[in-house]
Structure formats: C-alpha cells, structure tokens
Amino acid sequence: MEEKLSKLKEELQKKLEEATKEADILNIKSEYVGKKSEISSLLSSLKDMSIEDKKKYGTMINNTKKEFEELVTRRLETLENSGEITFDDTLDYEVENGSLHPVTIIGKEITDILKRMGFTVVTGPEMESEYYNFEALNVPKDHPARDMQDTYFLDNGMVLRTQTSDNQIHAMENFGAPLRICAPGRVFRNEDLDANHENTFFQIEGMVIDKGVTIENLLYVMQNLLKEVFHEEVKVRLRPGFFPFTEPSYEMDMSCLICGGKGCPTCKNSGWIEMVGSGMVHPSVLRAGGIDPEEYTGFAFGFGLTRLAMMKYKINDIRVLNSGNIRYLKEFDLK
C-alpha cells in the first residue's frame, strides 16, 4: 500500500510540474483526488478490510489524499503568481487636485495652534459700525487713522473694517472676562495696489483677559505660535509701538528666517522682521467691553495672515491672492 501511494504521489508531482495551464491542473486534480481517482477507490476499498487494516490504512490514505490536494493547490498558486500581466502596469497619470486658498491654510494652522492654547476662534462682520471699528477701540474722531485716505467709508454710515480689532469689543460683550479669543478675518484699507500693497487682506486678532495677565504671557504666546508655524526656533523681541487700543503698545519683531538674523535685504539688514502689533489692552477698551480695568488686565495682538502666508510660501506679489488665478492657486493643495 505504501508503495502504491508513494508511486501515485510521484506520478502526480511529475504531471503537476508539466502542466502549465489552470485547466490542465484541474484535470489532474480530478484524476488524482476526484471521485473516480485511485485514492477514492482505495478509500472505498477500506470497508472490506479488517478492523486492524482499516485503522492502519485509513489514516494513511486520508493523509495522502490531503497531501495530494495540497500539492494541487500549491501548484495552482504558483501558476497564478507566475502568470503574465494582462494590462499596462506602468501607466502614470498626473493627479488633478483641488486647492485651498493659502490664507485658509495658514489660518487653519494658526487657529489650531491657538486652540491648543485654549483660544476660541471667533469671526466678525466685514461691514462694521464706526463704533466698533473706532470709538470703542479708543480711536477718537480726530485720529489720523480715521482719515478718508485710510478707511473705506460707506454711504450707509458704516465702514469696511480696517482691522480685526473690532472682534475685541464683540468678544468682550459676548463672553465677558476671563477671555481668550482669536479672530481671523478680512480687512480693508484704502491703498493703491502694487506687489506689496492690497486694499483687501487678512489679519488675525488675539486677546486674553484675566487677572494678572502680563506682557510676558504675550511673548510666550507669540514665540510659540511663530515657532510652530515656521517649524524652527524663532526669536521675538519687543519694541515700543503706538496703537490707540493698547497701552503699553509694542511692536513685535521676529528674527529674520531668510538670513537667520545676520542681516539681508528682506529684513533691511536689521536681522529682524516687524511682525505683530501688540500690547496690554487699553483701560478704555476694557471699559468699552464692559470689563473693569481695575480688576482685569489683558493683552491683545494682531498680525497679517496674508503677510504670514506670503512669507511662508515666498509669494512675492500680493495681488495674486485675490486674483483667483487657478494656474497660480492650484499649487497650494490642501495643507
């Protein structure tokens, strides 16, 4: 019996090796393990055997049958793997991608970082009352910022907001103190267009109000924000500045990333780039927002999202951002 089985196995192996088509292998399969195969007849002959032989050969034949099935399956697998490719697997199509506006991308990035620091993202109206755009922000009637040449005044007595700082007042009114908000948004200045000037651009405002807030907290927020945006260590420094809605007011510079602070044309050889207007919230502004300046202090900052996007993506003409030119915008993809 053993002999017979091992001879069958040899035959099978040989035939399987020779076979090259799936159909042939399937034929071989039915020849050796099918209903009419030798193995099957051996199995059916078991019933005529003695109990001893049944035990002895039963297991042997069954195992051999399994082994044969295994051999066929393996041969089928090898054939599959060695099969010819029936299509051109070297085709390489260009992907067509949609794109988000660079300001959207950088705005998302920045608000995400600020959210990690506990800021709420708020939005405000582009057409704004003079009260929210000026008066409440401690910009009196005679301030040069209210001159015709800087502000778009509208024939309904309102203005196109000149800064996102109007959100400071809205947020204080809506939420009260303590407060942590940031407000990205579009602002408008009456400027002639050139590669560096737009009349329509984006800013982001930030404001924190609590008991005992200091300028050093602002330094922390800004330094870490810039570090996360540019993925490198950024140094920041404060200079005296002047804004009606903060007191003290500070200009915040960041170390020039192009020259690393050594001095280059971009930073006008100073090693620093003016980046953020900031300061401690002016008591009159706190009062306008219904918050007691004797109890709370706060800091506020604002900077150009458009400008940051230009720096980050090395965009050298601001006008493309409002052009809607797909040839240009498609480079920006989604993140």
Binding site: G98, G118, T123, Q149, L160, I215, R327
Partner: protein, 774 residues
C-alpha cells in the same frame, strides 16, 4: 526725520562716553525705530583753507579767473576758478591735487588752455551744503593750510528715524527731545539751552487770538538792527545734513529752532506787520502761499491775519508778502501753538504737508513757544551783537496748560511688569525723561512734564510704558499662562467654513478663491447688469458692494476661461444684503456649452452630498422663478432643507456667458452660510440590519416627453414591503436605469418572491403610461 549726532552731543554732558554709532540699535528698542545710520564727512579729503593772493581774468573765458592760492605751501599755486565771488584776500576751501571728492581724484589739468592745480570748492561741491552761488567764504581768522574738517563739523553721524514711530511723541520732533531720550537710555545729563532773557520794558505787540480752541498760544517779539543775515557755515552744514535748505540767517534760524526744539517759527519782515490776528478764513477766499500756489480757503482754515489781510496759513505755510527780503533788518518773530487736528485737516485738505504742519499735527507743547523765541534771540545775537529788542516778549496764552499728576500704585506696576522694581530705579528712569516723582509707601505721585502731556501721557498705563521701555523690553522673558482648564466658548463658524472648504477642495478638486467685496463695475457694465447696493464713498469704480457672491466671482471666471474651458471654484465670503453682512458659499462650475447638462447635474449632486455628510440632511429642489436678468429663467432651482430655502442653483444666461468666453456654460450655486451654520446636524442613529442578504434589481424605464420628476411620482406610489431603497443610477438618452434594493427581516428572498415583485412593478409602470424594458 534726520538727526545729527554732532547736534545731540552739544546738548549732553560728557557725550564722548557714548558709542554714537551703535547706540541706535538700543534706541530702536527703547524709543523709536531707526531706519538708517549714515557716516558723514568721508566724501572728500585733502581740502584745506586757502587764501586767494592774486586774481586775474581768464583770457579765454568770460567768467573764469586765474588765481594764485596760498594753501600753506612755500609758494602759492595756480588755480582756475569759475565762481563769481573770487577776490583777492578771500579765504576759501581749496582741494589739493591728489585729493578726492566722492571717490574721484583731483588732477592738475588745463581749463581753456590754462593749467589748474586743484580746485576751489563750493559747499555743494563738497557735499556739505546746498550752496553753489560761489566758493566757500571762510572767516578771516581761519589759518591757511589747515584741514577744513578742523573748522567745520563735516564729520558727523546722521540717523534717520521712522516718522511713523514718532507719531505719538511730539517731544521727539526736535534734537533736544532725542537728546533727552539718549540721556535716559545711557544715564547721562541733559544740558540746559542757552537763551536770551528779554526785558519787559517796551511796548507789547498787537496780537489777538480770535479762537482759543484753534490757537492755544501766540508769542511774538520784534527785533531790529539786524545787519548780518549770513548763516554761519556750521549751521549751514547742520541744516543740510538734516534735510533743510539754507536760505538766509533769519529763515535758517527759524528752521534751526524747529530742528532743535521741534517748535515751528516764523520770521516776518517787521516793516509790513501792522497787527496780528489769528482766526479762521471766510469760505471761498483764496490765498497765495510762499511756494506761489493759490490756495482755496474755507471757514475752518485757521489763518494769521495782518491788518485785515491774510498773512499766512497758520501752522502750515506763510505767504509771499511777508517774506524776509535781502534788505530786511527788522523782524517780527512768531512762535505759536495751534490745535493739532485743525492743522492736520487743513494740511490734508490743501494737500500741503510742511515740516511745520507735520509737527503741529502731533500736538506740540504750548509751553515751549517763549523758550524757542528766547533761544532764537540768543543765537541771532551771536552774529548780530548790535541787534535791538524792539518790543516786549508779547505772549497771548488764554488757557495755560498746567502740569498734571498721575498716581501709579506699585502693585499695578508689578502686575504689568511681571516683576517688582526698586523705587530708585523707577525714580531714575522717570526723572531722566523729565518727570518729577514723589515716592510714597504704596504708590508714586508723578508729575508729567507738559511736553509729554499733550497727547502721549494721560493715564497710569502710559507711565508704565515709559518705565518698561527704559528698563529694557529685552529683559522680559516668555511666560506661559498658568494652568486653566475652563472650557472656552464654543464658536463653530470658522471651523464649519473650513470643513466645507476642505470637502470641496478634496472631494471635488475645486479651487478656493478670494474676490473683492465690491463688484467689478466694468464687468457689470459689460454684462449689462445694473446693481444698486451700499456704495463705498470716494471711490469712482468698483464702488458697489456685492449682494450676489457668485456674480462677483464672474471676474475670476472670465480670467480663468483664458486658460481653462472647464474648472470648479468656490468662495465663502461676505455679501451685503438689505444693509446686513451675510456669509455665503458660492460654487461655480464651468464647462463647454455642450456639457452644461453634466455640470448642472453635478451641482445638484454636490449640494446633496455636502448636506448629507456634514449635516445629515436631505436636500430637495424646487423650481425657481428667476427675477434677476443674468440667470437663465428656466433652470433656476431652489435648494431646500426641511422645506425651507437655504440657497439657489442658477445657470448664467447665454448672453452673459458669451461675454466671459464663447461657447461655455456657467453654473452657480449660492448657499446661505449663516443659515448653514445655524442648521444643527440631524442625529445619526445606528439601525438594526437584517441578518438576511439583500438583493439588487435594475429596471430600465423609457420616458417619452417626460422628466425624472414624473417618473419619481410613479415610483413613489409603488409600494412593497420588500423595498429597502431605490435610486436613479444612470440615464442614457431617454432610458432611466433605476436600481431597487430588496430585502426582508424574516427570510432570504427566493426566486418566486423576486418574480412576483418584478411582475407587479412592470404592471405598475405600464399602468402609469410608461414603457419599461423587460
């Protein structure tokens, strides 16, 4: 503003201790932004004092002379010179052969056939003044052969400070104020100014202020017997270095004082002054200013009047008839203080911003007008020892600006600074800046000098700023806010906008664009569209605010048709509708004219998808009767959620589309994003699914002269317990492929169940008059 370090040094005790080249980085951090530091005086070398010994006319020229110049060598040397002030005995600036001006070497060379060894120079040739009327006329006591730089302050450091960063500091619009800052920064002592005390023993001048809200103070003085009207060379150089033209001693002195103290002054020829009145002009009057321009005046223009005639525009510019002339020997000096806003308005209106108006509009200290006059008198007397003070120092000052006190409690200072400073340090900083400080146990009582009080220092926070900046802002270190786990307010708008943008860009390959809040009026005209909405004042074109976002995107669509025939863009932006801000999402799909059907159907699918995945809401469309001229009036659809309108889909009319590009189609989607944000997401609930498999059955139904909405009505009335869902899969010509999904909660469907369903369905379709492919 340009600042001369030589001038600063003259106001500071022991100025040599200061590194004048490098102090300016610190100045930027402490006070105001320095834009440029320029070293002056290295443009020429080998220029010495020379004396003209002989002077004869050049034989081949009608204006040149041949000079013999003694420059300290053994023999005088021959120089040819074209200046008209050459004369024997004149001491002047002589540049030797081999010397340089602006990098160019001076060589001996013939001029019209006569050899010239070196050159006699004018101020302009040396780059130290504007003067080119003749060669430099040096004082007689200068020693021949000495380097010119030994006598004249040619070597200097000139610093340019960003005017914008001085907006809030009227005290820094003169060198003396800058010197005070340098003293505070470097802990030096500021020297007092030399002045001439004016005895009060003569007559007052006739000066009247008509409006003391517009003119706070007017100080006048008459001086006679001024014979020398020549500006000393060192003053000429200073004025040149700080960007002023030298004209005559009297004019130069007023400018010098403006550069020194920041106080604009005016010198009138006293012969024409009768009486001075400061008051507003009459509407429609005109006046010719010094520059020869005739200006139109209005009732808010503040004027200086002399005997009923206009004499100058207060704080901006004087007139021709009061100009100092060559034969002027007596002057009427004006040193006044005007309302800053009024001066700014006038200067802006007239388009005439002068050095004087730039200073007045910063809110100058009225308490310095008399100091400036006394200082000018002192300087005038140096070159005119015989001058006569011909009047009292006449001072009209109706409302005196008094010093005010501010209480700064030490606790507030510590909170703002994030640290506690020693009393001595606070006092030192403030006193150097001109404040007076009384130290109490818990607070400081601080007296604010009036030169800081007009604008800048009003409240205790302003004082903190002063202390912080001189203390050194670089000493502040970043500190995180303390742990606070309060849940902040939830505002979804920004995030929801982002979600939608991301979805459109990622799933549908759309491009996000930004467009202006106003219509492109040229394009509106081209498209023959009339729009009435809020207007931007003072803007000629593009001045109508948009009330239709997708229409305003047509500018961008037109631009992109130049490069693409089909593209997809979107914007979430603000429109102004019924006088209110409104956020709108607009999606624009474009393609060729023949593909309009595709993008139209895409539009409907996109909107459906958007609301399904982000809000779990079903969109339904109803027909829109369009009123706007630029939308196709048959294809408008209203987008509804829960039977309420939330937006529209429109097709731009053929006429308009053709103006953008020929043979194209434009589909525009507008969704009210304010409503979108308010729409809460329908809760998603998980459903039990049947354990038996589902089966899909496809039917193709032929529609003749009918639309899908007709078919849908028929499908809706076909009821069976087996129907899980049905949907439109494909349309080819008039053949609509509908796919039914069937199933049961109780059993696996058998062939006979499906057969029964099929027979019933076909009968239903046919009974409703439609054809079905069996």
């Amino acid at each position: 503003m340009l600042i001369s370090c030589n001038k600063l040094k003259s106001h500071i005790k022991n100025p040599e201790d200061i590194d004048w080249l490098n102090i300016w980085d610190t100045f930027t951090l402490r006070t105001a932004e320095v834009e440029k530091v320029t070293i002056m005086g290295d443009k020429f070398d080998n220029v010495v004092v020379g004396e003209i010994k002989e002077c004869v006319a050049h034989p081949n020229s009608d204006h040149m002379h041949i000079l013999q110049v003694d420059y300290g060598a053994n023999e005088p040397i021959q120089v040819v010179c074209g200046a008209n002030n050459v004369r024997v005995g004149l001491k002047t600036a002589y540049i030797k052969v081999g010397g340089h001006i602006d990098g160019e070497e001076i060589k001996a060379r013939p001029l019209r056939g006569v050899l010239s060894n070196g050159m006699c120079c004018s101020g302009r040739e040396l780059g130290i003044s504007d003067d080119h009327d003749g060669i430099i006329e040096a004082p007689d006591d200068w020693v021949v052969g000495r380097d010119l730089k030994d006598y004249l302050p040619v070597r200097d450091i000139v610093v340019e400070i960003d005017n914008k960063s001085l907006t809030n500091r009227p005290d820094l619009w003169g060198h003396y104020g800058i010197a005070r800052e340098i003293c505070a920064i470097t802990d030096h002592e500021l020297l007092p100014l030399d002045i001439l005390e004016i005895p009060n023993d003569k007559e007052d001048l006739d000066i009247v202020i008509k409006d003391d809200n517009l003119c706070y103070r007017y100080t006048g003085l008459k001086i006679e017997n001024i014979k020398n009207n020549k500006t000393p060379l060192d003053m000429q150089i200073f004025l040149f270095y700080v960007g002023m033209r030298s004209i005559s001693l009297l004019v130069d002195l007023t400018n010098y004082l403006m550069m020194e103290l920041g106080q604009p002054m005016h010198a009138f020829d006293a012969r024409v002054v009768k009486n001075i009145e400061v008051g507003t002009a009459s509407d429609g009057d005109t006046y010719t200013t010094l520059d020869g321009e005739t200006r139109k005046l209005s009732s808010d223009t503040l004027m200086i009047k002399n005997g009923d005639k206009y004499f100058g525009i207060a704080g901006v510019m004087g007139g021709l008839d009061s100009e100092i002339l060559n034969d002027t020997t007596s002057v009427f000096l004006e040193s006044a203080c005007f309302n800053a806003a009024s001066i700014r308005r006038t200067a802006t209106k007239l388009g005439l911003r002068t050095e004087a108006s730039a200073r007045y509009e910063k809110s100058l200290d009225p308490n310095m007008t008399d100091l400036a006059i006394k200082r000018l008198a002192y300087l005038l007397k140096e070159s005119n020892p015989d001058m006569i003070i011909a009047s009292n120092l006449t001072d009209v000052y109706p409302k005196r600006l008094e010093e005010e006190n501010i209480i700064l409690d030490k606790n507030t200072l510590s909170i703002y600074m994030g640290r506690t400073l020693e009393d001595e340090e606070v006092v030192r900083i403030l006193e150097k800046l001109g404040f007076k400080v009384e130290v109490e146990s818990t607070y400081y009582n601080i007296t604010v000098p009036t030169f800081r009080a007009t604008k800048d220092i009003k409240i205790k926070e302003d004082i903190i700023e002063e202390i912080a900046r001189i203390y050194g802002l670089e000493n502040f270190t970043p500190k995180p806010l303390k742990l606070d786990l309060t849940v902040t307010e939830h505002e979804t708008t920004y995030n929801e906008e982002y979600e939608v943008k991301y979805l459109l860009a990622s799933k549908y390959n759309m491009h996000e664009v930004h467009s202006y809040i106003w219509y492109d009026t040229d394009l509106l005209k081209e498209l023959n569209i009339e729009k009435n909405n809020i207007k931007v004042l003072g803007k000629e074109a593009n001045n109508i605010l948009r009330d239709d976002l997708s229409l305003s995107l047509m500018t961008i669509v037109k631009e992109n048709f130049k490069n693409y025939s089909n593209f997809k863009i979107f914007e979430i932006g603000t429109i102004i509708e019924n006088n209110e801000n409104k956020r709108v999402l607009s999606i624009i799909l474009t393609d060729t004219e023949k593909n309009m059907e595709n993008i139209y159907n895409d539009a409907k699918t996109i909107v459906k998808y958007l609301f399904k995945v982000l809000k779990n809401k079903e969109v339904t469309y109803t027909n829109n009767v369009n009123e706007s001229s630029y939308h196709n009036d048959k294809l408008g659809k209203i987008i509804n959620i829960d039977n309420t309108k939330i937006g529209e889909i429109n097709v731009l009319t053929k006429a308009c589309t053709n103006k953008l590009s020929k043979k194209k189609s434009v589909v525009m989607i507008d969704i009210d994003f304010d409503k979108y944000v308010k729409l809460s997401k329908t809760q998603v609930l998980s459903k039990e699914i049947s354990k038996y498999p589902e089966v899909e059955l496809d039917y193709t139904i032929i529609l003749e002269d009918k639309k899908y909405e007709d078919l849908e009505k028929v499908l809706k009335t076909f009821l069976s317990k087996l129907i899980r869902s049905y949907r439109l899969v494909d349309v080819y010509e008039n053949k609509y492929l509908i796919r039914y999904t069937l199933g049961s909660d109780f059993k696996t469907l058998e062939q006979k169940d499906l057969q029964t369903f099929k027979e019933r369905f076909i009968r239903h379709i046919k009974e409703n008059g439609l054809n079905i492919i069996e």
